[in-house]
């Protein structure tokens, strides 16, 4: 080593650095690690890693080239996907409203009420709904807020809102999970797919044309889709969200990135679905909101949208005086 240094020094002083003899000599450093060689051997997902003397073992990772793949996925792709999902759904619903208008009760309101959702069901629904909406807004803010809100609010206000949003997101997730389990337990029996659903789907749920009312039980096929999207999507969000909150449980940083991607995609899709749900449960359909508001719906609304359920609770004769079992 000394020998070589001496020779290198000599070469330097003689100004022969690049001369052929210097390169031709035996070079004990030719076996040294080089970035070129390491990168050639690096498989996808591999890191350049070495020994570190500080207690933080993670600091031993020198270069993680693949982090840039996740950065592009998160910064560009998922950002676009989220915007398209939300804006796309709103445009679609606006178009639907313009063409089809509000779905009315064709027979007019009867003035007679049937209990559709009891207070426990409504409590579960509104806990789920309120937590989901705050989670969706604060979550979407994380990914598209900088494009949508930042220009409007300015950096300081946007920063404050985002910091509160993060806290809300981390804490409300737990109430959401509780409500999700409640909804699952309360409504799963009404959401098992059956043959009635096929007929409902064939007739487009009666959504597309006036006067078409395919029979349905307590929940029609469209609502079953919403139910399962909420249950499965909500479970996926809960599971991945938990791991994002406790990164040590998630495994490696690459695992965390994977769970983050699932979380973001699921959130975008479920948010879009829920916007459609909110539309049909409020401005989109006459009489629908009462089911979750007061819990009681107009009998004619019920006959048009859930004929089989009405028969179930009132008996097939449909006597106006008979009351639901509860």
């Amino acid at each position: 080593m000394k020998h070589l240094l001496a020779r290198a020094a000599l070469a330097l002083t003689l100004g022969l650095g690049a001369s052929a003899p210097a390169l031709a000599q035996v070079n004990p450093t030719e076996k040294s690690v080089s970035e070129d060689a390491l990168f050639q051997a690096l498989g996808s997902g591999d890191y350049v890693v070495g020994r570190i003397t500080i207690p933080d073992a993670n600091a031993g990772y020198l270069i993680k080239p693949d982090n840039k793949i996740w950065a592009a996925l998160q910064g560009d792709t998922l950002h676009m996907v989220s915007i398209v999902a939300i804006v796309g759904m709103i445009v679609l619903l606006a178009a639907f409203y313009m063409i089809r208008g509000k779905i009315r009760v064709d027979a007019g309101l009867s003035g007679r009420k049937i209990l559709r959702f009891n207070v426990i069901e409504r409590f579960a629904h509104w806990t789920l709904a309120s937590t989901f909406i705050i989670l969706a807004l604060s979550g979407l803010n994380i990914i598209i807020g900088k494009t949508v809100l930042l220009p409007v609010l300015g950096e300081a206000a946007f920063g404050t809102i985002s910091a509160w949003g993060k806290i809300a997101h981390n804490f409300l997730a737990w109430s959401f999970m509780v409500a999700l389990v409640m909804v699952l337990v309360l409504w799963i029996v009404h959401n098992i797919p059956n043959s009635v659903d096929l007929q409902w789907i064939q007739q487009g749920g009666g959504l597309l044309r006036k006067g078409v009312h395919p029979p349905a039980n307590k929940f029609n096929a469209g609502q079953k889709v919403i139910f399962w999207a909420v249950i499965l999507g909500g479970a996926a969000l809960s599971f991945t969200g938990f791991l994002l909150l406790f990164p040590a449980e998630a495994g490696t940083p690459a695992d965390w990135q994977f769970f983050q991607t699932i979380h973001a995609v699921t959130a975008a899709v479920l948010s879009a679905i829920i916007i459609a749900h909110i539309y049909i449960g409020s401005v989109g359909m006459e009489g629908a909101f009462d089911a979750m508001g007061s819990g009681e719906v107009d009998e004619n609304w019920a006959r048009e949208h859930h004929s089989l359920w009405v028969e179930e609770v009132k008996g097939s004769s449909g006597s106006a005086r008979a009351h639901p079992a509860e």
Partner: protein, 198 residues
């Protein structure tokens, strides 16, 4: 304008950790955070090399593209800085960074992350140059004093180079040509999309 970069000539690094210590001292970096660190590759084997690494101040910085609150900005010198007032401690930049630069002081229970901290290229933050607020949040602003980052200035073997990318690349190229070997400009292809070819 210069385009500031770091280049660690691993064939010269003797793993003395002076850069690490100098940085901690100059900026009063919080406990548990190392803005710069030295990683030894092939430890104990022939051809072992040590590389001093911090934030590389990337071109099209990945951290900036994932930050939900857009708190990163690139100065006219190509230095990637961030605003701790806006940062929400989400941790995303630490997953995007290929060099493990962003780190967090733990501020509360359950490992809650505080404001992100990373190498500033000794260039402070958005506050007024040399203000107390800037010093407390980001450390000394040597660049505004016309000085280069202290880590590189302290380097006992002049392994760690800081300065305009073209100039330090030229110095490195000359060294490699002169001595006949070089293990590469570590991190350059990942940070800048190009490496120093000799």
């Amino acid at each position: 304008m210069a385009r500031m970069k770091f280049l660690c000539d691993a064939d010269r690094c003797i793993e003395c950790n002076a850069c690490v210590t100098a940085c901690k001292n100059e900026h009063e970096v919080p406990w548990g955070i190392n803005r710069r660190r030295v990683v030894t590759l092939n430890d104990g084997l022939p051809g072992e090399r040590s590389v001093s690494m911090a934030c590389m101040h990337c071109t099209d910085a990945p951290c900036a593209s994932v930050c939900p609150v857009n708190c990163f900005y690139t100065t006219a010198d190509g230095v990637v800085l961030h605003n701790k007032d806006t940062c929400i401690g989400c941790g995303y930049c630490s997953y995007a960074c290929p060099f493990g630069a962003p780190q967090y002081p733990q501020t509360a229970n359950f490992g809650t992350r505080g404001k992100m901290d990373k190498c500033t290229y000794c260039a402070g933050g958005p506050e007024a140059d040399h203000s107390q607020a800037e010093y407390v949040k980001y450390g000394r602003n040597r660049l505004a004093e016309g000085k280069l980052p202290l880590c590189a200035e302290m380097c006992s073997t002049k392994s760690l180079l800081a300065g305009d990318g073209d100039i330090i690349a030229e110095i490195y190229r000359e060294r490699v040509v002169t001595r006949g070997y070089g293990s590469g400009a570590w991190g350059w292809r990942t940070a800048y999309g190009e490496t120093v070819t000799v």
